[in-house]
């Protein structure tokens, strides 16, 4: 999975766990980045990922990430860009 995002990710998808309610919209839109745990919450698809609330994504996922951020019912998602 980490190979799909390439060595230099386009950005990181940040999950605010205080807000997240596991409604499942982001896991539908980003199946390559996120899987759904038994309680409905999103989980990084890459099990090796060190930071669980900071998911790197590649240029190919850009539009789907934007959709997931816009449609999150709890406003729990933000995009972090490399500085």
């Amino acid at each position: 999975m980490s190979a799909a995002t390439g060595p230099e990710p386009a950005g990181h998808l940040h999950i605010n766990w205080t807000r997240c309610d596991g409604r499942g919209i982001c896991t539908e839109l980003l199946p390559s980045l996120l899987i759904r745990d038994d309680w409905g919450y999103p989980l990084a698809a890459d099990p090796e990922l060190a930071e669980k609330s900071r998911i790197p994504f590649g240029r190919a996922s850009e539009r789907d990430v934007a959709d997931a951020v816009a449609l999150c019912p709890r406003l729990a998602l933000t995009v972090l860009r490399p500085r």
Binding site: R19, G22, R23, I25, E28, W39, G40, P73
Partner: protein, 185 residues
């Protein structure tokens, strides 16, 4: 031409109410977090939003045509301030109340990211006031409002929203409720 405006004003109001009814039911479904048949969750959210937008377009046409219509005698102030109308001021005023509430819901929906989830949700709850007020406006103010066919449709709409509302309050409403409750107990 006057007859056409009058007829269109009434019909667009009925269409708007029907679309608002569908949007409220879909909104409750969105809150449950469940997909709908072949529609995934994100699509249910988008349909909810787009049906609401269509309802607003017909609401705009409803108010716009009746402002030009000589029977309704609707003035600009009646669009914003309720209960000042020349014809059936109470029932017309309910329509104005619903319009004002709709404006608040739309504004907070568009500014959702800036306002945060708390304000968005609090104002979105006004839909549960908006919808019954709009229904009462339709029945009390509509030319056909108390005719048998309209009352049957109104009753069906009330049953749909009422049923969805009861489901909303039931303990198994949330898709995740079962799993999370079993885990907790």
């Amino acid at each position: 031409m006057d007859e056409a405006l009058w007829a269109f004003g009434r019909a667009s109001g009925a269409v708007s109410l029907a679309l608002f009814t569908l949007s409220v039911v879909l909104g409750i479904l969105v809150r449950s977090g469940r997909p709908l048949l072949v529609l995934p969750r994100f699509a249910v959210t988008l349909v909810h939003r787009n049906v609401a937008l269509f309802a607003l377009i017909f609401l705009g046409l409803h108010v716009g045509t009746l402002m030009l219509d000589p029977y309704a005698q609707l003035r600009l102030v009646d669009v914003v301030v309720p209960f000042l109308g020349a014809v059936k001021p109470f029932w017309q005023g309910l329509g104005t109340v619903a319009l004002d509430l709709a404006a608040a819901v739309v504004a907070t929906s568009l500014l959702r990211r800036r306002l945060g989830p708390g304000i968005f949700r609090a104002v979105h709850w006004l839909t549960y006031v908006l919808w019954p007020v709009a229904l009462l406006h339709a029945v009390g103010n509509g030319t056909d409002g108390t005719s048998k066919w309209f009352l049957l449709l109104a009753l069906a709409a009330a049953a749909a929203v009422g049923g969805a509302g009861l489901w909303r309050l039931s303990p198994r409403f949330l898709e995740s409720a079962r799993l999370r409750q079993e885990e907790a107990s």
